[in-house]
């Protein structure tokens, strides 16, 4: 379908049933993209996000699939392409944590985090970029983290996955830049979501802005990176952390 922004295609946001993903989906819909609301198990949440977008005049549909499953990517893409056309904006947002000191991390805790946060992003990007290259347009935005470039005790698996995602972002960006396809990362700091609700008290004292970020703060950056105005921005990581990394 032709979008209200003139493209024939759609956006896919993984992990979009709540938090940052939901805010990103809403922002992209405001820019005229029909949006696939990727979710693993929170069907009710995904439906709520899609309904809110529709009520606001946008177009959205929940798309089920555990991105850690290598067979999920083709299914998700087939479903979206049939409904809305090619995926021209991909936001790899789905992420999990399984915290513990490295000395105590189990293999499955390592594997699970790497699979969802990094390998899934690779598989989805591989599928998306093939089409984007031939369409001579595409936007991939990977939701990384300030953890990765920066240490955070207890999150060796998470940090490795996010640092890997940033390296992946830079390399793919270079590979496809000459086809009008950009690949960037956004690195949030402390953002108020379900994933960060168990953060220890006082952690915000380290944030120069003296507050946690909102999902909408991250969504605004993704929206920019997906926009025509960001056509010359690729291979970079945009940090959204209230000055934490400065």
């Amino acid at each position: 379908m032709t979008t209200t922004n003139g493209h024939e295609g759609c956006a896919l946001v993984t992990g979009a049933s709540r938090g940052i993903g939901a805010a990103v989906a809403a922002a992209l819909a405001e820019d005229g993209w029909p949006v696939g609301i990727g979710y693993r198990s929170d069907e009710a949440g995904a439906r709520r996000v899609a309904e809110a977008i529709t009520a606001a005049g946008g177009t959205a549909a929940p798309v089920a699939g555990d991105v850690a499953d290598p067979e999920a990517a083709p299914r998700i893409f087939d479903e979206l392409e049939e409904r809305f056309g090619p995926v021209l904006v991909l936001v790899n947002n789905a992420g999990v944590r399984a915290d513990g000191l490295a000395v105590q991390l189990e293999d499955d805790e390592w594997q699970r985090v790497l699979e969802t946060n990094l390998s899934a992003a690779f598989r989805l990007t591989r599928r998306a970029v093939g089409t984007m290259v031939r369409k001579r347009f595409g936007r991939v935005v990977n939701i990384a983290s300030v953890v990765g470039p920066k240490a955070n005790a207890g999150q060796a698996n998470y940090a490795a996955s996010k640092a890997g995602l940033i390296g992946f972002t830079r390399t793919v960006a270079v590979e496809v830049a000459r086809r009008g396809v950009t690949v960037n990362a956004v690195a949030p700091g402390f953002i108020e979501t379900d994933m960060t609700e168990d953060l220890p008290a006082g952690v915000l004292d380290a944030v120069p802005a003296r507050r946690a970020g909102r999902p909408e703060d991250v969504a605004a950056c993704v929206r920019f990176l997906a926009s025509p105005q960001a056509a010359y921005v690729t291979g970079t990581t945009l940090t959204v952390d209230g000055g934490l990394s400065a």
Partner: protein
Amino acid sequence: MPATVTAEQVETVVYDALVELGPTRDQLTRDATFESLDVDSLDLAELSQVVEEHFGVRLKGDDVAKIKTVGDALDLIIARAA
């Protein structure tokens, strides 16, 4: 995908795809190297997608790394499609 793939069908699809990527038709000969045609690795990745769509033949990264000329590509695709 056709039941039997002929060399002519492969040549037509490959030449059409290559013209889309930049070279002119008269530059396309079996002996022409992709380097001389200014066809790079990303172009060959695109060509691989077209070939897979038409003939169900999947060319992997190390396959693509080995082919240097248009003839190399045609021969590989024909052999795989047989």
